[in-house]
Every structure is written in structure tokens, then in C-alpha cells.
């Protein structure tokens, strides 16, 4: 008697990695880091119509308890130093989404003397969401792309050391 096709289709057979990543990506808690106009769109994305909570993302007040920082808005030079501090206060594994043109590259404020051209000059970014400001659908897609990225991570099995050429 073979075991082929005996497992009912209601049972998921998956690797432990996939299971753990699925639980991790479904509960990415973001820090309320609204700087400028994109913050309003972030609030609307968390609002009733396009709900971020259904993807498991709830807003948190402090960096110590959040997984994700959504840098929404223009980063000025004065704020850039504090942003670096806040990101370093987040416990690992931590992710960062750069939302909007200003956070991606300075946006329309590249002409300004007090604006940092892009938040990737101070912290490493995982996903860039374009727009000025990005629609809630765009931010949701950014979050889903981050979830895909989390799903691909492999961290249970220790990899052998690879020699760098």
C-alpha cells in the first residue's frame, strides 16, 4: 500500500522556512513615522477603505516595538540624523520602506538647501514606493512586495562560509 495521494488536500506540506516566513510577513508592524504629505496618505491607507490592518500591519508608536519604518515624507538634514537614530533603535530583523518621491530621491525638493536627497543616504531601504504622494493602492503594493521579500528569506539553515573572490 503506497502513500501517494493519501494525504488529504486540506493538509499543507511546507518547509519550516516557508511557514515561519509566512507568519513573520503577516504581522509586520510599522512605526508611525509620518514626516510630510505622504503621512496623510499613509493614514488614509490605514483607514477604512484601503485597510493596511488586513495585511497584519498595525501602527506602533515607538521604534522599539516595530518591524518596519515607513519613511513617508521629505527628510530634511535636521531630521536625517534623528532618522538614523530611530532606525538603529529598531530591533532586528527590521525593514524600511521609502514612500514617496521625497524619501526616494528628494523629490521636488532637490532644489532645496535643507533637504536630504533621499532617505537611503542614512538608512538602508528595502522597498521604494514612487508617487507624490503614492496612492493607498501603491503603498499597499509596496507592502506586499516587502512581504514577498520576507517570504524569500532563508535563515534557519546555516550556510557554509563562501570565500569572497
Amino acid at each position: 500500500m503506497s502513500l501517494i495521494n493519501t494525504v488529504p488536500e486540506t493538509v499543507l506540506t511546507t518547509k519550516v522556512d516557508d511557514l515561519l516566513n509566512w507568519t513573520r510577513k503577516s504581522s509586520v508592524w510599522y512605526m508611525l513615522f509620518g514626516l510630510a504629505c505622504c503621512a496623510i496618505e499613509m493614514m488614509q491607507t490605514g483607514g477604512p477603505r484601503s485597510d493596511l490592518d488586513r495585511f497584519g500591519a498595525v501602527p506602533r508608536a515607538t521604534p522599539r516595538v516595530s518591524d518596519l519604518i515607513i519613511v513617508s515624507g521629505t527628510l530634511t538634514l535636521k531630521m536625517a540624523l534623528r532618522t538614523k537614530l530611530l532606525f538603529e533603535q529598531m530591533p532586528e530583523p527590521r525593514y524600511a520602506i521609502s514612500m514617496g518621491s521625497c524619501a526616494n530621491c528628494g523629490g521636488l525638493f532637490q532644489l532645496a538647501y535643507s533637504v536630504c536627497d533621499g532617505v537611503d543616504k542614512v538608512i538602508p531601504i528595502d522597498v521604494y514606493v514612487p508617487g507624490c504622494p503614492p496612492r493607498p493602492e501603491a503603498l499597499t503594493e509596496g507592502l506586499l512586495k516587502l512581504q514577498d521579500k520576507i517570504q524569500q528569506e532563508r535563515w534557519l539553515v546555516r550556510k557554509p562560509d563562501v570565500a569572497v573572490a
Binding site: 514626516l35 510630510a36 496618505e41 477604512p48 521629505t74 530634511t76 531630521m79 532644489l111 496612492r135
Partner: protein, 385 residues
Amino acid sequence: MSTAIDIDLHREGPGGLETEEMTLNMGPQHPSTHGVLRFVVKADGEVMRRAIPDIGYLHRSIEKIAEKVGYHGFMPYTDRVDYVSAMQCNQGWAMACEKLAGIEVPRRGEYCRVIACEFGRIASHLISVGATSMDIGAITPFTHAIREREYINDILEELCGARLTFNYMRIGGCAWDLPPGFARRAIAYLDRFEPLIDEYNELISFNKIYVERLANVAPVSRERAIAWNLVGPNLRGSGVPYDVRRDVPYSAYPDFEFDVPFGTGERGTLGDCYDRYMVRMREMKESCRILRQAIEGIPPGPVVAKVPRTFKPAAGAVYTRVEGSRGDMGWFVVSDGTAFPARVHIRTGSFAAMAAIEELSQGLMIADLVAVIASLDIVAPEVDR
């Protein structure tokens, strides 16, 4: 009768213990939704001695950029001066430029501007009222406000294509005319929204805890409000019935009939947080009234006057005021005859409100500081530009 408490800092506590004040830091990242603002709070336990504001975390040098991009090119930047209600900022800039060059806007263009501005005002007051509730601790009205704002975003999106930073107006009028069917959809929204204002009042405004959190907190007398140059609902909350739309009429506002609500100290002292909050709730109703009149009575015609591509007004200086959602915004534009302005200075209502907090916060509790910031409706881009 205010809730300020007299404190004597270097006093001996029970058992011969000395107390001293502690310095706390609030911001620039904090869960309140008003943007990047920082306060250095010197407190004795729960009672604040002073809350010193520290601003500049969103200083995007918008005024200097005007000198680089020219008159037409500056219009998208004006949205970012107060992104919660961007239409009024567009209007302020357009009006200042039109005054410099003596351009007259066609009647239909003025009506379109009023319609856009009043929708923007409702949207901004929704955020303000929702954020006040959320800061006090009532999270649910905020979600209601965001839901209503989504419908306004839809209406303004079909008008000009953007949900938040509209860039709808041009020097000389508006960029696009009202799309077909707009009047019907807008009136349908107003019919749906006006009864909801009463629903929100029942939900939160007369709630005992809410009233106790806001009434008698940081009352601002009429003289102090004027000395601190508080404007808009902050000024009207202190009992000064001044509204730029009615007292220095501009655009199409002389054609409309509307009241200007002002505070009377109904639940506490005159000029406290509750008065300012109720002025905003009532203003939403007045905006609905203006909108109905504007949509019914809009005349036919063009929406924009002919303005040259390279806009070179005569040399001079002009100071125009528009009634923004946070009070009157003064647009000071100096032209030197070239295609780029020599100086643009935007004097906003939140700047003065932020400056006044240091005086208002003396003797309040730390939790009241959040209520004061929320009731003064401060947004960071207006403070920093």
C-alpha cells in the same frame, strides 16, 4: 477658571526630600499626527513648567525655491505649504500673483476656486477633528473622519486628478473646468454628509470625558489671541468674529451667505480647547452651505484668464491674505520685474500657534499638551515651510 496649577519648584517634599524639575523630550517622532514637531518639556512630575517648541524638522526651503522656479512653476510647491488643505494655498499664491500683475479672474473661475477651497476646508477640518479625538484617546472618530475624507478625495480627484497635492489653480483661474456630472455628485455627497456632522457631535462632542479633557484647558483671552497673531478658528474660538472671507472679501465670497461661528465659552472658559474644537465643527456646516450656493449659482464662461507663459509682473510688493483652514495665510510676494520673484514669504496660522504654546503650556499637565496642540490645529509644514 483654568486648570493651570501653581507650582513651586524647589520645594521640600514630605520626609525632607527635595524635588526638582525634569527635562523631557517629546518628538520629533511621536504618535500624534501633527507632523514633526519637538517639545522640550520642563516638568515637575506631571505638571509642566514650560514646553519649549523646537521646530525646523520639516523646513524644506519652499520660499527659496520660489526664487529658482518662477511664478508658474511655484504652484505645486504651494500645495506642500499646507498639504492637509492645499487648495487654499494654491489660491493664496494665485491671488498674490494676480494682484501684482493686475489680472482679473473670470467669474466661473472664481466659483470653481470657491468650490475647491470649501471642499478642502471640510477635508481639513475632518482631519483636525479626527486627530483631536485620537490624541485625546478616542480612536474611533478618527476612522470616521478618514472615511469621510476619502469621499472628498474622490470628488477632488475627479476635479483635478490628485488626492492630496492638487496643483489645481493657475495664475488667472483654474486649470480645468468642472467635469460633467460633478454638480450632481457633489450635491449627493453634501446631502449625505451634513447629517453626519450631527452624528459626529453625538458621538464625541458631548461626551463627558471628552468635554472634561478639553474644556477649561489653555484658555486664550481675546487680547492674548490678537497679540500672538492667532488666526482662523483659534482666533474665533477666543471670541473674535473675524473671517477674511467675510471681512476682507475676495474671490466670489461676496456672492454667498454664510455665518462665521465663534466661541462663547459654552462649556468652560472662553477661548479654551473646546471652543476652538466646536468652531471647527460648525465651520464644516457653513462650508456645506457655501458649497450648495456655489454649485447652484455657478455662471457659464471660461475658467482661466489669458496669462503670458513667461510671467513678468511689474516691480512691487504685495501682501494678500486668504482664509485657509488654519486661519488666514498671508502671502507676501516681492517682484523685481524679472521672471523670478525676489522674495516670497508665507505667514501661516500654525506658526503663531506654535509660538504661543510656550506661554499656554505653563501649569498644564503633560497630557494636556497634546490636547492643546491638537486644538490649535498645528501642522508641521505650515510652521516650517
